[in-house]
């Protein structure tokens, strides 16, 4: 009987199973599972959201062609379309507050003509969050259909009445779905759908009110194309035409950014798991050195040894990937459940494409870290069976760092498709890990020194932390990183919000009044003042669009940021003022004199964001289109605006005189204390055209969305913590023989099992505390930086951050480490020392 190499497959598989049974592979496979689970959870989830966008793109417009404008559209267009055989409908939408008793809620009101939607179907339910059915009907006169959120928030039931401006409407049904509800993401303000015929009765819409006027067209593609060709030259620049497919592009862009962020979060997990894989693969191959030499001694050819190793690695990667994909699949379902309110309607089922990312990642990680030592296994001299010192290939921790880093870089590039970002991630993570490493090293040294001041189990535990040196540092850094992010999201985020609230004066405005017609300015102000409310300044404003800079049209201009592009493409609120408004600081140029000759050129003051976004300098000549009329202005100065003052502020302010009397509407903000809120209901009835926004209520709405999003990110970073556990497990595994021996020695010298276990617990609790110190410090510094440099807030260090960091670290690491090592006391000292 001779050795036949075709048996390697069966041999390798059988031996892998035996390795698994002996517990040799648990950490290696576990690290792969965590990495793959983190990556695929994110990929499954973002894939579902992305598919929701794609699937709904077809009916996203509720039409084949959609025309949107900030000003009423010509009814002639509808007639022209109908003459061409197209179906038409129209829609008016704007944000407003609905009232029920003293409660109010920011909603998006949609007044529809018959025929809406031209594509897709509305779905309604008889009760909030109830089972929905499709309908071709629309709310009849006197009735509104509202989203479940409106009913839930205002404590309403179907059949109750709600107040919309001057009109009370009966809630006829719960609106579950409309085709143009914005693809995947639900609007911040829930929709109230009412018949267009009821809109005038609400008196909400005045001349100059901020609203979006929409016409919908549908027909066969040739008819739509012909109508579009007819319409293009007739529309103004402010009118936007959107055809199928065009509307989802912008959303897809935002989605890509969110996806990248979550992928980067998952990547932190992958990198930590890579550390665990490297440590476990190193132990795996080291333990297989003797086996490889033995196999060769028994007659196995080099190829057999190599193929066996490769096949085993491949199987580990595949098994780890499959379990990881399954875990990722379950995790994405949990993510989707957490974020269910962010989506309009159910998300489509996930596709299996991310499974390939998972499998590829597992293969890449294992190959990157285990292949170089595996190739060395092949070259193990067979003489090793006689002499352990003979030519054992050196298996240093950084044996093939370039290979592993190369594989990781390729993996990153594959996931992010952006060489610059990959470079940034590498440099950034490298620096971050370097700093954390140094900090961890310092902490471990301090802990080792601190053992002199302690006794018993603590001394033994701290001595071990110090003695294991870089092994301890790796664990502290791995846990520290995961904990840092969780602390940032769980504690620092709340701190920042509290600091921000505290930074606002107690009497900061908390209600905005917009769409005040010129005739209502005086009586509204008088009513407010009569109720004891202080009214500072009422700003006039018009809608204006920038069309040229220094005689060159802005269309076709290159913008360095999306924000700049947005400024140039969208209409802005433009106001005028004789003096520099409160909350504004002049940063360049000079403010215009209070008295200027009537024929002096019109000057403009720009917020720095606006000027920087478009690339405008002091002295530049700008042309704005205001209701179809061009207005030339010269840039006199730039302002820094404190946007969170809750007073009306404008990107564009012009010198007084040019537009006096042209204002469509006015706006102001006031502070109402709880008792003064009673004034609102009568005010809204007296001035139905005025829209009132309760800042606190809007903040609550924003907060709920942000909280859910942050919980999803926390979910992703829980995987990072799991990766920390894997690093710990790998480190424990690599020191298991050593620990078993130490335990046997201590017990031989008379230490009880309890004392040995206390020592182990002390070691891991100490590691956890160090990770907690690192994480709390890093989170506090990050919080301070963000507060100081991004939000201009004074950050006060929160003692709970430290309590949470230290206790969380001690608990997780202490329990995990203790569980992983307690078995060392189960083997008898005799067996260990003899072994």
């Amino acid at each position: 009987m001779s050795l036949r190499s075709r048996h390697w497959l069966r041999f390798a598989t059988r031996h892998l199973w035996r390795d698994w049974r002996a517990g040799e592979l648990a950490v290696l496979a576990g690290a792969l599972v965590v990495a793959v689970a983190a990556l695929t959870a994110v990929a499954f989830f973002t894939g579902r959201v992305s598919r929701a966008v794609e699937l709904q793109a077809a009916e996203l417009l509720a039409a084949d062609l959609r025309v949107e404008s900030p000003r009423p559209l010509s009814p002639d267009w509808l007639v022209a379309a109908q003459q061409r055989g197209l179906q038409t409908a129209s829609l008016t939408t704007f944000a407003t507050a609905v009232f029920h008793g003293d409660d109010n809620l920011l909603v998006t009101l949609r007044a529809t003509s018959a025929g809406y939607p031209l594509r897709g179907q509305l779905r309604v339910a008889a009760e909030p969050y109830g089972t929905a059915r499709g309908t071709t009907a629309l709310p009849p006169a006197g009735e509104a259909w509202v989203e479940s959120r409106v009913l839930a928030r205002l404590g309403l039931r179907v059949g109750d009445s709600l107040q919309l401006g001057a009109k009370a409407l009966r809630v006829g049904a719960v609106l579950d779905y409309r085709p143009d509800q914005g693809a995947a993401f639900a609007d911040l303000a829930p929709t109230v759908l009412l018949p267009a015929a009821d809109l005038p009765g609400t008196q909400l819409l005045q001349n100059g009110s901020r609203a979006s006027f929409v016409q919908l067209y549908a027909g066969n593609p040739a008819q739509v194309a012909a109508f579009r060709a007819w319409l293009e030259p007739r529309k103004t620049a402010a009118v936007r035409l959107v055809a199928l497919g065009e509307s989802s592009q912008q959303l897809q862009g935002s989605l890509d950014r969110a996806q990248r962020f979550l992928s980067l979060a998952a990547l932190a997990t992958v990198l930590l798991c890579a550390v665990a894989v490297a440590m476990a693969a190193r132990r795996y191959t080291a333990r297989h050195l003797d086996l490889a030499a033995l196999m060769k001694c028994m007659g196995a050819p080099q190829r057999f040894v190599l193929l066996t190793g490769l096949w085993q690695l491949g199987l580990i990667a595949l098994a780890g990937a499959l379990v990881g994909v399954l875990a990722g699949y379950l995790a994405q379902a949990v993510l989707a459940w957490f974020l269910r309110d962010l989506f309009a309607g159910p998300l489509p089922a996930p596709t299996w494409a991310p499974a390939w990312i998972g499998i590829g990642t597992a293969m890449a990680m294992l190959l990157g870290f285990a292949l170089p030592p595996l190739l060395q296994l092949r070259a193990v001299p067979v003489l090793r069976v006689l002499r352990q010192d003979v030519g054992a290939p050196t298996l240093r921790f950084f044996t093939a760092p370039l290979f592993a880093v190369g594989v990781l870089a390729a993996l990153l590039w594959w996931m992010l498709q952006d060489a610059k970002l990959v470079g940034g991630v590498f440099v950034g993570l490298g620096l971050l890990l370097g700093v954390l490493w140094l900090a961890g090293l310092g902490l471990v040294r301090v802990a080792a020194l601190a053992r002199r001041g302690t006794g018993g189990a603590w001394r033994y535990g701290l001595a071990n932390v110090g003695r294991r040196g870089s092994g301890s540092v790796v664990q502290v850094v791995a846990f520290g990183l995961g904990l840092t992010v969780l602390l940032l999201l769980a504690v620092v985020q709340n701190d920042l919000l509290r600091e921000w609230r505290a930074s606002l004066p107690a009497n900061a405005p908390n209600h905005f009044f917009i769409n005040i017609s010129p005739n209502d300015v005086a009586p509204l102000s008088a009513d407010l003042r009569a109720g004891g409310v202080q009214v500072d300044q009422v700003f006039p404003w018009v809608r204006a669009r920038l069309v040229a800079v220094n005689d060159k049209p802005v269309t076709g201009r290159k913008f360095s940021t999306d924000r700049g592009k947005g400024f140039a493409e969208r209409e802005q609120n433009l106001s005028w003022s004789a003096g520099l408004p409160r909350d504004n600081t002049l940063v360049a140029g000079e403010w215009w004199p209070a008295e200027r000759p009537a024929d002096a050129p019109v000057l403009v003051s720009l917020a720095t964001e606006f000027a920087d976004g478009i690339g405008i300098q002091i002295g530049d000549r700008l042309v704005f289109d205001i209701a179809g009329e061009p207005m030339a202005v010269r840039v006199a100065n730039l302002r820094k605006v404190q946007w969170d003052s809750f007073r009306p502020n404008f990107f564009v302010l012009i010198s007084p005189g040019a537009l006096d009397g042209a204002a469509g509407t006015y706006m102001t903000s006031v502070h109402l204390d709880p008792a003064q809120r009673r004034l609102l209901a009568p005010l809204v009835r007296r001035f139905p055209g005025v829209s009132v926004f309760d800042v606190d209520a809007v903040l609550v709405q924003v907060r709920q969305v942000a909280d859910r999003a942050s919980r999803a990110v926390q979910g992703v970073f829980l995987f990072t913590l799991a990766a920390g556990v894997m690093v710990l497990a790998a480190a424990v595994q690599s020191t298991r023989d050593e620990r078993r021996f130490e335990s046997a020695m201590l017990r031989t010298l008379g230490a009880s099992r309890a004392v040995v276990l206390q020592g182990l617990l002390a070691e891991f609790v100490a590691l956890g505390l160090l990770a907690g110190v690192l994480a709390s410090t890093a989170a506090a510094l990050a919080g301070w930086y963000v507060a100081r440099h991004w939000f201009d807030l004074a950050y006060h260090f929160n003692v709970w951050l430290w309590v949470a960091g230290l206790s969380g670290g001690a608990l997780v690491v202490g329990v995990a480490g203790w569980l992983a090592t307690r078995s060392v006391v189960n083997t008898s000292p005799l067996a260990t020392l003899r072994g």
Binding site: M1, S2, L3, R4, R6, H7, R10, F11, R14, R18, D19, R21, A22, E24, R287, D290, L291, L294, M295, K296, C297, M298, G299, A300, P301, Q302, R303, F304, P381, V382, L383, V385, L386, R387, Q388, T827, A831, R834, G835
Partner: protein
Amino acid sequence: MLEAKEVTQQVSSPEGTLTILDQVSFQLGAGETVAIVGASGAGKSTLLGLLAGLDVPTQGAVLLGGQSLSALDEDGRAALRADRVGFVFQAFHLVPALTALENVMLPLELRGDSSARVVAAEAISRVGLAARAAHYPRQLSGGEQQRVALARAFVTRPQVLFADEPTGNLDAATGLRVVDLLFALNREAGTTLVLVTHDRTLAARCGRVLELAAGKLVADTLTVAA
């Protein structure tokens, strides 16, 4: 069966070339039992490695069953070992992740033997460890581990068995029991046994003793056992 022809082994060291074996020649017949003895550093283990084809001599030749090992590449020598050679080591070299039975199955599985489990179970019974077949090496005493190693060495019915200090890690009484078993198995299988040892008593149980000193074969003696 096994022949060494002027086998010389030299290694380079910072001090120059070091001669570990110097023109060692002898012939072993089938079924012969031979002990290689000598002080530490005399070149015993090196000679064993060369005879088993674990390495090739700098000069001279080793012939196993008439085949020159130097003429074969590493895989060729491995194939020859798979067919004809068994090993017992001082440090046992049992695979920690495998049970006693699986350790004995290892060489059979490497050959693709479909009856590996049955054959190995017989072999482990023969060394008196049937009840311990499912135990891992760490659960076995040193003597038991070496008995498993013996079962593993004989399970492929090799023509030549090489044993490197087989009792080196065992106490005297255990060592004696293991050696008794080694010679009993050897007799049953008619295997050629090449044994490296410090132990003169153990050497005396072999039919022939080759004594090395400073890399040279200084004595080739037939014993009473012969």
